[in-house]
Amino acid sequence: MADREPILEVSHLVKHFPLTQGILFKRQIGAVKAVDDVSFELYQGETLGIVGESGCGKSTVAKLLMNLEQPTSGSIRYKGEDISRLSGRALKAVRRNIQMVFQDPYTSLNPRMTVGDIIGEPFEIHPEVAPKGDRRKKVRELLDVVGLNPEYINRYPHQFSGGQRQRIGIARGLALNPEIIICDEPVSALDVSVQAQVINLMERLQNEFDLSYVFIAHDLSIVRHISDRVGVMYLGKLAEIGTDSQIYDHPTHPYTQALLSAVPQPDPEVRDSRERIILSGDVPSPANPPSGCRFRTRCWKAEDRCAEEVPLLAVPERFAKADTGVAHPSACHFAEERDVVHV
């Protein structure tokens, strides 16, 4: 994969939200470190999964990638060009190529607009994609592509089920023929039997249009299914990143191991025989994260070194020469392989 140019390159991305005190004279008393030095690449046609618990900063990453938030520092390069500080016409041109699918299909669609208007709205902003007379036809095509009846073009969102609404959201994301789609929890609001339909649709569309996905979710099974590579986030930092097999079959970071072992398994045979790591306590506040390694307060391996030294996200030295899946970046001083998924 290294011989290819990444389509999106994120380096040392930082986003701090200031905490202020006072009404008339506001002064900053601290910052919520939502994203703190995150780097990754996205290649054409691949899916990068980002997993983590609530408050780990995964949705802030999505907003930064969409340019809905300005990073405190760091850069986001789209085909070599830093897009994080663009504005005006240049930003508009880039945005055409990076679109988003939201979590909640009930609130992300305007209830007073017809489906045709919702899916066609991107054309108002980017009229060069579809000339005016052509738009209805284009919307019908999009409805067909996502598996909805093109006759539904004049209906309103409330006339659709959750799964169908998410298809509308996907059609809107596809309208401008983007290269990258950022999906923030696209199926977590859907029923189990409908989730599979939407996941299959997204995979089909990826093949058809050579799309690249950043797939943000908390459901580890779904992320494994759809992703080529997976990054695990904890308190604003990436703990571990690698291919799906490197992360799920050869996890080396204790947090990843705990996360994977906590996933409820829909198979009682597996449940009875596998080991579970139950973490104590909750995720600390990102306004006041622990020194050194951020996971150390809940980690069973933590030693003095973990409080003093921030572990870097790199391939651990002892695994650098290994020819199995353990040779992948992991931000832990005491990285160690432990299979928690297989029986």
Binding site: N200, L220, S221, R224, Y248, R271, L279
Partner: protein, 344 residues
């Protein structure tokens, strides 16, 4: 019969039994049939998982048991809810009140909206003892601290006067569990107790609930849509679809060999953690509208096995047997073709 008699254990009578329950909602589009003849039982120390997607009627059944169904628009059109053999639907409001909270308690999904934001958690926990047991304020507070310890909230003594928003999601759900446990009920109904929580916290809370249930030998009705959560704690499972139970089975049996095409489809449609797999199996279509439940078997428009009979006759919940006709025990399926589904 007096209420006192219900306290004693009656041999041969289940702790809680729902019998042929029917519930409707009045809507502009006509009656929405949310529950259409649901029956299940739970015994002391047993965990029954009620599995279903949104609109399957799993929560409405639970709300009816608890007597917190909004009426109107809800209406109970038939059936019985027997607590130790006595029909709660025939009791006076006063009698029911004594069972509710005292004998049957409920844990809700969203602890933040289930707790009162302007009262301290200590006060809300203590309220249980003041209202039901006539405890004094001081006594109630002491009991509240005990309970918070019991559900392993760190520094309970210092935190008893804190307000719900000062606790994390996992801690709030522990407080909900503490509240349900307060009066040592015989039955706990947990409606999606961990759905709003993160995976690592979910595991903590589920473990706690299972442990307390064992210690107190309570009957637990766990309502969920998550096949993973069910596999972790349940003894037996009732799968619901469009207001009906379509399959009953002990937990190991259900996962190994489902006897209803809907259950089978659900199990095949969830991605695996231990290998990547190819295309996901997807059940076609979507759950039916409750105002227009399909004729015959409600699942027939989405079922790959559907025949003509499925479109006309409602399949009864029939006992599932081994291939040679021998009994399996505790299994039933509401499918005309359960034999083909389970035995291939």
């Amino acid at each position: 019969m007096s209420i006192e008699m219900t306290k004693a254990e009656v041999p041969g009578v289940p702790l809680l039994e729902v019998r042929d329950l029917h519930v409707e909602f009045h809507t502009r589009d006509g009656a929405a049939k949310a529950v259409n003849g649901v029956s299940y039982t739970v015994d002391a120390g047993e965990t029954l998982a009620v599995l279903g997607e949104s609109g399957s009627g799993k929560s409405v059944t639970a709300q009816t048991i608890m007597g917190i169904l909004d009426m109107p628009p809800g209406r109970i059109t038939g059936g019985e809810i027997l607590f130790r053999g006595e029909d709660m639907l025939k009791m006076s409001e006063e009698q029911r009140q004594r069972i509710r909270g005292d004998k049957i308690a409920m844990i809700f999904q969203d602890a933040l909206s289930a707790l009162n934001p302007v009262l301290s958690v200590g006060f809300q926990l203590g309220e249980m003892f003041r209202v039901h047991r006539g405890a004094s304020r001081r006594e109630a507070k002491a009991r509240a601290i005990e309970l918070m310890d019991r559900v392993r909230i760190p520094a309970a003594k210092e935190r008893v006067n804190d307000y719900p928003h000062q606790f994390s999601g996992g801690m709030r759900q522990r407080i909900m569990i503490a509240m349900a446990l307060a009066l040592e009920p015989d039955v706990i109904i947990a409606d999606e107790p961990t759905t709003a929580l993160d995976v690592t916290v979910q595991a903590q809370v589920m473990d706690l609930l299972a442990e307390l249930q064992r210690d107190f030998q309570m009957g637990l009705i766990l309502i969920t849509h998550d096949l993973g959560v069910v596999a972790d704690v349940a003894d037996k499972i009732a799968v619901m679809y469009a207001g009906r139970i379509v399959e009953n089975a002990p937990v190991h049996e259900l996962y190994k060999r489902p006897a209803h095409p809907y259950t089978k489809g659900l199990l095949e449609s969830i991605p695996r953690l231990d290998h990547k797999g190819k295309d996901l199996y997807a059940i076609q279509g979507m759950p039916p509208s409750l105002t227009a439940i399909p004729k015959g078997c409600a699942f027939n428009p989405r079922c790959p096995m559907a025949q003509d009979v499925c479109r006309t006759d409602i399949p009864p919940l029939a006992e599932v047997l081994e291939n040679d006709g021998g009994p399996i025990g505790g299994r039933s399926s509401a499918c005309h073709f359960w034999k083909e589904t389970i035995h291939g």
